[in-house]
């Protein structure tokens, strides 16, 4: 058993026994060797179900809305803590209604990368440091952890939670030195090639199941714009125009808010690289406003803040000014 799992169980027991929370949200083993499941634990006895996962790809903060009225503790690596912070900033969750059991995160593995290692995956043993042993129907493979990590973990700038009530001991991954490499690869292309990428990689393959939206801990509108029927803003079929609109609006709704937990991409049954859209907006927020989301529950939100020195070079009037037209 990994020591992090032991620490989590111990901490969860204490939290429940001392009444610091009524429920602990974390992960448990899934039905496949490369899947983990979000679980809610209500008693100290049940904490034996909790694990520190290799494949904790969904953000448990997403379940908070189902537990309204209860004080909830969350097993929180960086991205879980940051999602809760944004929810606090946006008035969805009160800071004193959640207990953040911080975990310095070694990064999670990508289920698709592991699944592709053999016909049938029988067992996965992760040392949470360097190596992963994958037992497949064809034999055993030892793979460097780095090669199997999720893309958002490879690009993570905050593996250690910035906000917590208690931080478990452990070794986090080092913050990524090049978080925007994949975004820059797309940015380097011509406009038409970027549009083509969006159409081929995202729009044409989407089946409109909304797993990306539903998995997002920060998508909480009581009625999503795609579900409005009076008026209906977006067509409901897989027509490319409607699908493109859905993805663009979904991404823009996360501008200055997304914490890059990667739940959207992990949830997608078609493996669409959805994160690139929100990652691009994250990069914009950082380069234009030196802003990173989810770091301080008391800090103002990016989109509700105005500073005189904010750059305005994206405004049409700026262009006209530069041309001497106004």
């Amino acid at each position: 058993m990994s020591t992090l799992t032991e620490k989590i169980r111990e901490a969860a027991q204490k939290v429940l026994a001392e009444g610091l929370a009524e429920v602990v949200l974390g992960y448990t083993q899934g039905s496949l060797p490369y899947r983990n499941r979000v679980t809610a634990v209500n008693t100290p006895e049940e904490t034996s179900r909790l694990i520190w996962p290799s494949f904790g790809v969904l953000n448990p903060a997403n379940v908070l809305h189902k537990l309204k009225g209860k004080k909830v503790a969350l097993i929180s690596p960086g991205c879980v803590s940051r999602a809760v912070v944004v929810l606090c900033q946006e008035g969805q969750v009160k800071r004193d209604e959640v207990y953040l059991l911080g975990v310095p995160c070694p990064g999670m593995l990508d289920p698709s990368k592991v699944r592709d290692l053999g016909k049938k995956i029988l067992r996965v043993e992760d040392d949470f440091k360097e190596k992963v042993l994958v037992v497949t129907s064809e034999g055993e493979k030892i793979v460097a952890r780095e090669e199997l990590l999720r893309q958002n973990c490879l690009e993570c700038r905050h593996p250690t939670p910035p906000v917590y009530d208690e931080l478990l001991e452990g070794e986090a991954r080092k913050p990524s030195p090049s978080p925007y490499q994949k975004v820059e690869e797309i940015e380097a292309r011509e406009v038409s090639a970027r549009w083509q990428w969006f159409q081929e990689a995202v729009v044409s393959r989407c089946i409109r199941c909304y797993a990306c939206r539903n998995a997002c801990p920060l998508c909480y509108c009581p009625t999503c714009f795609v579900d409005d029927s009076r008026p209906q803003w977006v067509g409901k079929t897989r027509d490319p125009v409607d699908t493109a609109l859905y993805h663009l609006v979904r991404a823009y709704h996360l501008a200055g808010r997304c914490v890059d937990c990667g739940s959207c991409e992990a949830a997608c049954p078609m493996d669409i690289p959805l994160r690139l859209l929100t990652k691009k907006l994250e990069k914009e927020a950082l380069s234009a406003f030196s802003f990173e989301s989810g770091l301080d529950p008391e800090a103002p939100l990016l989109l509700t803040t105005f500073r005189e020195e904010d750059p305005e070079d994206f405004m049409i009037t700026q262009e006209l000014k530069a041309l001497g037209k106004i």
């Binding site: 189902k66 199941c209 998995a215 579900d227 067509g235 079929t237 027509d239």
Partner: protein, 325 residues
């Protein structure tokens, strides 16, 4: 009638079919498409063959958007198609959906215009359990031909006249009955039907409906549509009016019972407002309502839901709970 087709004769056969008909094949892991050389045979596709019969946009009628104008019913699709590489579970899914859709003229037209060539799996996939749901992949149910990969050849069973005609375009030779039947016998002996089905038949509907396990099992569910859209037996739909200017089209499209909007009434009332109620409905439909109505579960054991569910909801956790409550 049984035949043997050499593996190297598969491609030339597909080319021959493609010259006479519009041929669709599994092109990538994503799903089926027109045959252009690409062929994915390593396992089942993510999107099932139901897409041929319940497309993502089925125009039903067209109309002029002005008072008094009468709508015109759309002539359904009539193009003759052949689909190769349909897994027996998917074909069985078509049969199950047909129990509900058989009176629908659009469904009928698509069925009449489509021949299905089945391909039995080399071995069960990680999450496969067709046998547990009573599917016999060797039966050829819902198919015109069924192919079984066997050593260096495909064993072929002819199911319909249309299938026989298609096979005549190949270099297949008569024979292989014994091998086919022994493979079928072997499969049946190794893979039994799940005893849970019998228990579900006998269980009182309300006992399952009101059982306490639903809340716990539904907790991680995202209520997205991944399972329903990938499922080869989920057939729920929505009807929408698409109006541009004065021209309107009424279309039918796949919809998911997991969505709040699906069960929301015009009044605003929603009988399945809670995420748990929608989760429960999906499984009750598959393993109780449909089972009671038609004698069979609305599941073919393809395992796509178990494999792709973002929240790792496992169908067997639910079926077990339902059958043992």
């Amino acid at each position: 009638m049984y035949y043997i087709l050499k593996r190297e004769d598969l491609r030339p056969w597909l080319e021959a079919i493609n010259r006479e008909y519009t041929l669709f094949v599994p092109r990538t892991r994503d799903g089926f498409g027109p045959y252009e050389g690409e062929l994915y045979l390593e396992g089942k596709t993510r999107l099932s063959a139901k897409e041929f019969f319940l497309p993502w946009r089925e125009p039903l009628l067209v109309y002029e958007a002005r008072p008094g104008a009468l709508p015109k019913v759309v002539e359904g699709p009539a193009e003759q198609r052949v689909v190769f590489g349909v897994r027996p579970c998917d074909a069985r899914g078509v049969i199950l959906i047909e129990k509900v859709f058989s009176p629908d003229p659009f469904w009928q037209k698509r069925r009449e215009a489509t021949s299905l060539i089945g391909l039995v799996c080399e071995e069960p996939g990680t999450e496969c359990f067709c046998w547990a749901m009573g599917v016999n992949p060797f039966s050829g149910e819902g198919l015109d031909l069924v192919l079984v990969p066997h050593e260096e050849v495909y064993l072929v069973k002819v199911i319909t006249e249309a299938g026989k005609k298609l096979l005549s375009l190949s270099r297949a030779a008569e024979g292989g009955e014994e091998a086919f039947l022994s493979r079928e016998k072997e499969f049946k002996a190794k893979f039994p039907v799940s005893p849970a089905l019998e228990k579900l038949r006998e269980k009182d509907l309300m006992t399952i409906y009101e059982a306490p396990f639903w809340e716990e099992l539904a907790l991680p569910c995202l209520n997205c549509g991944a399972c329903t859209f990938l499922c080869p037996t989920c057939y729920c739909f929505d009807v929408q009016d698409e109006v541009v200017g004065s021209e309107g089209v009424r279309v039918r499209l796949p919809e998911a019972c997991m969505f709040e909007l699906y069960s929301r009434h015009a009044s605003g009332h929603n009988p399945r407002r809670s995420p748990m109620a929608r989760f429960r409905n999906r499984f009750m439909h598959k393993f109780k309502y449909f089972l009671d109505e038609y004698g069979e579960p609305l599941c073919v054991g393809c395992g796509r839901c178990n494999e792709e569910c973002p929240a790792n909801i496992n169908l067997w956790d639910v079926v077990r709970a339902m059958s043992e409550v």
